[in-house]
């Protein structure tokens, strides 16, 4: 998840200097100078599962679209059915190319009947902006508010108590994939019950100029809860244990939503959208490979790009893998030929030329503790 962009060209979140001062190890990620860890990936991962963690994910992109045809534009661009959203609801969705490949995965916030916010991956902001503005329809006005917006995630079993103490409104009533407006530590925020960890928690959208104030307030108020700042390293192992897809690793232009196990956010019944015909043709034909979760039989670390084998022959590729700090096993996800994708199937992962035994398992690897609706 690192890249080779020179450090001088890297973009910075409003909290970059705060991370450096806190002793974070900084790495380039998707063109951004980001904290990969503070104390250590495994320690931070466990803090989120057991207590509460604070993430700076201000590198994520936010686009707003409003106008009489805002819904029509979102419906044209995204695979999921945004018409089912009431104001105050959030939806996971996908932007597809007409050929069925994935432009990006995203979350959609219905801010009002005629007003939406799309939250996209940091590394895709420029590509997505060009895509949505050139494929929009009707009377819809787009605004890229990425630079003006900071995003902090508070995740873990103690997130609700912590955010609740600092908020000027009740947060216990905000259901999973819903949001409300309020002030947290005096900072006006969209308080969203969403995340990328499998734990209960919130994502807080705020003005970039208030990021440091809210960060400091959460660090201070979270001390008795055992709150820790969490880097991208643990963000990756936390999402891996949930088999949440990561754009650029597990999904990209060469993969389609069906083989990625994301068919549940493709809603052909809603009407036409970019990629619909290609995806429906695929659905009729059946996909040749599926994104599976697997665990290693012996300790050995599967990594992005390693080959999956069955009976010595290549049948797929690993897209993400690591030691899973909560499941305490080496786990991975990858595309396996459909005939080798069933739970229980024995495969192997080619690591430095040797076949290492693995088996396809049920996912998520770790039980989800997100708030139930």
């Amino acid at each position: 998840m690192t890249d080779a962009t020179p450090a001088t060209a890297l973009k910075r979140t409003p909290l970059r200097d705060v991370h450096v001062k806190a002793g974070a190890k900084m790495v380039p990620f998707g063109g951004w100078d980001m904290p990969v860890q503070y104390t250590g990936i495994i320690d931070e991962h466990r803090a989120v599962r057991r207590a509460v963690g604070l993430f700076d994910i201000s590198h994520m992109g936010e686009f707003e679209v409003r106008g009489a045809d805002a819904l029509a534009a979102v419906q044209r661009l995204c695979t999921n059915d945004a018409a089912t959203l009431a104001a105050g609801q959030v939806q996971y969705s996908i932007l597809c190319y007409p050929e069925g490949g994935i432009v990006d995965d995203l979350t959609i916030y219905r801010l009002a009947d005629d007003h939406f916010m799309l939250v996209v991956n940091a590394s895709n902001i420029d590509k997505d902006w060009a895509w949505v503005t050139s494929h929009s329809v009707g009377r819809a006005t787009w605004k890229n508010v990425s630079d003006a917006t900071a995003l902090l995630a508070v995740q873990g079993p103690r997130a609700e108590g912590l955010v609740g103490r600092l908020a000027d409104r009740d947060v216990t009533g905000i259901a999973y994939y819903h949001f409300a407006r309020g002030a947290v530590a005096g900072v006006p925020a969209i308080i969203s019950r969403t995340g990328y960890t499998g734990e209960d928690g919130f994502e807080l959208y705020i003005d970039a100029g208030s990021a440091e104030r809210l960060w400091d307030a959460l660090i201070e108020a979270g001390r008795p809860d055992g709150l820790q700042p969490i880097g991208l390293g643990a963000r990756d192992t936390l999402r891996l244990e949930m088999k949440y897809a990561l754009y650029g690793n597990d999904i990209d232009q060469t993969t389609n939503p069906l083989e990625a196990g994301l068919g549940w956010v493709v809603k052909p019944a809603k009407g036409d959208f970019l990629g619909r015909d290609a995806i429906e043709a695929l659905r009729a034909r059946g996909v040749g490979r599926k994104l599976v979760g697997f665990e290693m039989v012996e300790r050995a670390v599967p990594r992005h790009g390693y080959r999956l084998l069955a009976g010595g022959a290549p049948i797929g590729v690993v897209t993400s893998g690591s030691f899973g700090p909560s499941v305490e096993r080496c786990i991975g996800i990858g595309y396996a030929a459909t005939e080798h994708s069933a739970v229980g199937r024995e495969l192997s992962v080619e690591i430095r030329g040797a076949a290492n035994a693995a088996r396809v398992v049920k996912t998520p690897f770790q039980p989800s503790h997100t708030k139930k609706a």
Partner: protein
């Protein structure tokens, strides 16, 4: 600053060697394990295998990265740390002690003379380790 014990010899690749007669006990330095982060996998050669100075003898993997291990000296592996496959985190918690990797019977004990002193290695890591 990372811990650099005075009695050991070092490589530019951040391995240490503790030389006793014709044997060298080897591992990776405190600086190396800090740079790697949480170690989750160590692959070592078996007892009886031959290793060659400055060539790779194994692999250490952290959550984020795969790194080759380079032999400080040439010779035959006479012991390999049997605790590391199950407890690779020992490399983080005790890199010069319980996190040791191999004992090598040196084919040419003079090899050890060409390794870095603790003072030179401290200088190397003060310059960022490269």
């Amino acid at each position: 600053m990372a811990n650099v014990p005075a009695g050991l010899k070092y490589t530019r690749e951040h391995e240490w060697a503790k030389v006793e007669g014709d044997r060298a006990r080897i591992g990776i330095t405190a600086f190396a394990q800090e740079q790697l982060g949480d170690v989750v996998f160590v692959e070592l050669p078996k007892v009886g295998a031959k290793v060659t100075a400055m060539k790779t003898f194994g692999v250490v993997e952290s959550v984020k990265a795969v790194s080759d291990l380079f032999a400080p000296v040439s010779g035959e592996v006479v012991e390999a740390n049997a605790d590391l496959p199950k407890s690779p985190e020992l490399v983080n918690s005790d890199p010069y002690g319980k996190g040791w990797m191999l004992v090598i019977r040196m084919s040419n004990p003079k090899d050890a003379d060409s390794l870095m002193s603790a003072a030179d290695y401290e200088k190397l890591i003060a310059d960022g380790g490269h």
